[in-house]
């Protein structure tokens, strides 16, 4: 956001809402707490329910009494609300309490959904694992956005970059490996990654060399990737007749996967899923623990100051955007060679935009973005689970669309600054011209 906006758009807001924000959050939690204690807890079934930690038969797990949990979480919400209005000396507890309450929403959702279902138990370790797996492309996409925006280039072309990676990777696999051979599979994943880098290089050239508006550049990429992959699908992939094949296979991490009960569920997975962790950790290490990472961040905050200190802003921006593209290419490979082994038109289905939301939700930090991706992954996994459990509220099923929409609402609230404002890198979106 520019200073102009601050001056014009939010002059009154910064003072007024700043004061009110805590009270508003407190009020919301207070109302939720009262609703839980007075409305929900007496209404839900008092039959005991069970969270299992492993698949049947005879799973380990914990039994619980749903109303008790609802009451406990309701009390927590009320405490948070009270702390929001507490005298200043007690305020330092308000912020951790808010965080705890926000996190408590997840167990609350789980308890409620099980209490409202006819099934007495469900495997939550498996649900957690599904969330992580579904978060893979989102976390990778958000990391792409992180690299681009931290260096000062807004990338709304993540969607297109992923799609190009998915399409070109699978095309390679189908044409030269018949979608069967493991060796060619890895070669094709590499091609996906490179394709992502190439597409991002196009964005970099447009926005850095030609000074094109970065959002327009992103739209170009999205439209172009959609056309290109559609063209390649009908002209190449369909003509090979290989519409599906062998994708990456699961393996267990040594030692960890032998942990009793949870090991086999949490520490078995497919390779791109594991690479996602490496990418997130690597991004955090490089961006926040190396001189080069510091330079990247400085280009996104104040490129002219960085230039004064001898940083080659143009080169750093090229490097970051292309690195981001390589990561998005890997996310593309997840779609067409790990999650499924085929390619369909518009296969990424807005994952790139969701990744962008996760990035914003995570306030432009690697772990925050990962957390955001996990939230989106969880809401999708929970949606499927609720349908499976047949959860009903007063005779109506909870639509999975509601759960999928929930993270977007949360992100919108975060962007609007109602709960912990999300502020982008200062120079993101601004073209840079070398000083003469």
């Amino acid at each position: 956001m520019t200073t102009v906006e601050h001056a014009v758009g939010a002059t009154g807001a910064s003072g007024r809402i700043g004061l009110n924000r805590q009270s508003i959050t407190g009020l919301v939690f207070g109302l939720l707490g009262i609703a839980l204690l007075a409305g929900v807890a007496p209404a839900i079934s008092g039959n005991s329910r069970r969270f299992n930690f492993e698949p049947p038969p005879d799973p380990a797990g914990i039994g619980f009494h749903p109303p008790t949990w609802v009451v406990a979480i309701g009390v927590l919400f009320l405490l948070t609300a009270v702390l929001g209005f507490a005298p200043p000396e007690a305020r330092r507890w308000a912020s951790p309490a808010r965080l705890l309450s926000a996190l408590a929403v997840i167990p609350l959702l789980l308890v409620l959904s099980l209490a409202l279902s006819d099934n007495p138990s469900t495997n939550i370790v498996n649900l957690f694992n599904e969330s992580l797996v579904l978060a893979t492309p989102l976390a990778l996409g958000a990391t792409t956005g992180l690299w681009c925006e931290r260096s000062g280039i807004i990338n709304i072309g993540i969607e297109g970059t992923m799609l190009a990676g998915a399409g070109i990777g699978y095309m390679t696999y189908a044409t030269i490996g018949d979608a069967q051979s493991t060796g060619w599979l890895w070669f094709s994943i590499l091609i996906s990654v490179l394709a992502g880098g190439l597409v991002a290089a196009l964005l970099a050239v447009l926005s850095i060399r030609f000074g094109v508006n970065q959002i327009v550049g992103g739209v170009v990429i999205n439209l172009f990737a959609l056309g290109l992959t559609g063209f390649l699908r009908s002209e190449v992939i369909v003509k090979t007749g290989i519409t599906t094949g062998v994708g990456t296979s699961e393996f267990g991490l040594p030692l960890l996967s032998e942990i009793p009960v949870i090991g086999d569920q949490l520490f078995r997975g497919k390779p791109i899923y594991w690479m996602m962790y490496l990418v997130v950790i690597g991004t955090w290490l490089v961006m926040f623990r190396t001189p080069w990472g510091l330079r990247v961040r400085s280009c996104g905050e104040n490129p002219h100051a960085a230039e004064t200190l001898g940083v080659n802003v143009v080169r750093i921006r090229y490097q970051s955007v292309i690195l981001g593209g390589l990561i998005a290419g890997l996310a593309g490979a997840w779609f067409s060679m790990e999650s499924q082994t085929r390619f369909e038109d518009n296969m990424t289905n807005a994952a790139g935009f969701i990744a962008l939301a996760a990035l914003i939700f995570g306030k432009w930090t690697p772990w925050g973005a990962f957390g955001g991706a996990l939230l989106f992954g969880f809401s999708r996994a929970l949606g499927t689970r609720l349908q499976f459990l047949g959860v009903e509220v007063s005779g109506f099923e909870i639509p999975s669309e509601f759960l999928q929409a929930l993270p977007f609402i949360v992100t919108l609230v975060v962007v609007a600054g109602a709960v912990g404002r999300s502020i982008p890198p200062a120079a993101a979106g601004q073209p840079f011209q070398r000083s003469k």
């Binding site: 014009v8 170009v220 959609l226 056309g227 063209f231 939301a357 600054g417 120079a427």
Partner: protein, 386 residues
């Protein structure tokens, strides 16, 4: 390499020939970049077509006949273009106020579902057409305006950038309408007798009269959207509000000190933008489909961005750009049928058009066009998009 350079010089010479003819004969100066961008994109598309072993001229000839080969084809092309006018205006108007509305995709859905809901209300069939039709169009327009106004309000009240909030709102409304047309238990807006998820058909009285029975049908919505373009052109050029919009777009800071209510202008332009998208959606629902399906508007909002930029955000030029866009999509199936070239080639060509219009430096370099004015799409004109 040498050969390539010679070829390049050849292209350059041919280009400057064309350039001279155009300058002297038609005074098309302001259109150069757009025209050359289109030409260049077709060249790139032609290269792609030759790679798959098809003669590009055969393919393009089929495409051209699909676009304007006969009365039905022309009517079909025009019909296909109509909604694009609205989605392009949605970007262009906000752009004049310095806002980047990439939410046309969601505003179309919001307008479309509202129009379909109002159009299928039971008492609509009792109303005469001259009441029912304006009603359904106004409903769609309002739906779009409200959904477009939200990011405007968020921007003025909290500073949330409209690019981010419109992306979120696009997804939100998509999930919302999906639920409304999918859900059987409870039935929200789904037509329970239909096998595909869609809303009930709108009342016969709310159907826009058709002009030509082409594929898709050309209906009276054409006049509504073309008319709106001229109204917008008038508002921007000749009214106080239009002046305020332009001033805020150029410099909100200065506008503020000049006494313009910047927040009001921002909300009003976003709402107006959404209204144009909503009108386009309503005219599609009422004139073409007769019911609402989420897939109808897929990519239409993003295409609108490309069209608006191709037209350099000039409301009247948008009509021409939308016609080009829609007719290409409408002509593509014939190209696929006759030359066996995937219709996606058209999508690639369209992306290239947007690319060359946005990166006009490439076009200016290749065709030696002098810089006439500051291009409105340079990033510098929207001070830091986030």
């Amino acid at each position: 390499m040498n050969g390539a350079r010679n070829a390049n010089a050849g292209v350059g010479r041919a280009a400057s020939q064309i350039h001279r003819v155009l300058t002297e004969a038609w005074r098309l100066q302001p259109l150069y970049v757009s025209l050359y961008a289109i030409l260049l994109s077709f060249v790139v598309g032609g290269v792609l077509i030759s790679i798959i072993g098809v003669n590009p001229f055969t393919a393009y000839w089929a495409l051209l006949r699909g676009m304007v080969g006969g009365g039905d084809e022309i009517a079909g092309s025009v019909a296909r273009s109509v909604p694009f006018i609205g989605s392009a205006l949605a970007l262009a108007f906000a752009f004049r106020a310095g806002l980047f509305n990439i939410g046309a995709e969601g505003q179309l859905l919001a307008g479309g579902i509202t129009a379909a809901y109002v159009g299928a209300l039971s008492w609509m069939s009792d109303l005469p057409g001259f009441v029912a039709i304006p009603l359904i169009l106004i409903a769609g327009t309002m739906g779009g305006a409200i959904w477009g106004g939200i990011p405007g309000v968020l921007r003025t009240k909290t500073g949330a950038h409209e690019v981010i909030s419109t992306i979120m709102l696009n997804s939100l409304v998509l999930f919302g309408v999906r639920w409304m047309v999918n859900s059987r238990d409870p039935v929200v807006l789904r037509d329970t007798e239909s096998t595909v998820p869609r809303t009930d058909s709108i009342s016969d009285t709310a159907v826009l009269p058709e002009l030509v029975d082409s594929q898709p049908v050309l209906h009276v919505g054409l006049f509504a959207l073309v008319g709106i373009c001229f109204v917008v052109a008038f508002v921007l050029k000749r009214t106080t509000f239009g002046f305020e919009v332009g001033t805020v777009g150029l410099n909100p800071h200065a506008s503020h000190y000049a006494g313009i209510n910047v927040n009001r202008v921002i909300v009003a332009s976003m709402a107006a933008s959404g209204a144009f998208a909503g009108l386009a959606a309503a005219s599609e629902i009422s004139g073409t489909n007769g019911f609402f399906q989420p897939g109808t508007f897929f990519l239409m909002g993003f295409d609108g961005i490309a069209i608006a930029l191709l037209a350099r955000t000039n409301p009247v030029a948008i009509i021409a750009a939308a016609l080009l866009w829609g007719s290409m999509l409408s002509g593509a199936p014939l190209m696929q049928q006759e030359a066996d070239v995937s219709i996606d080639v058209v999508r690639i060509i369209q992306a290239m058009v947007l690319l060359f219009v946005a990166a006009d430096a490439i076009v200016r370099y290749l065709f030696r066009v002098r810089e006439l004015d500051q291009s409105p799409f340079k990033a510098t004109s929207i001070e830091g998009a986030m």
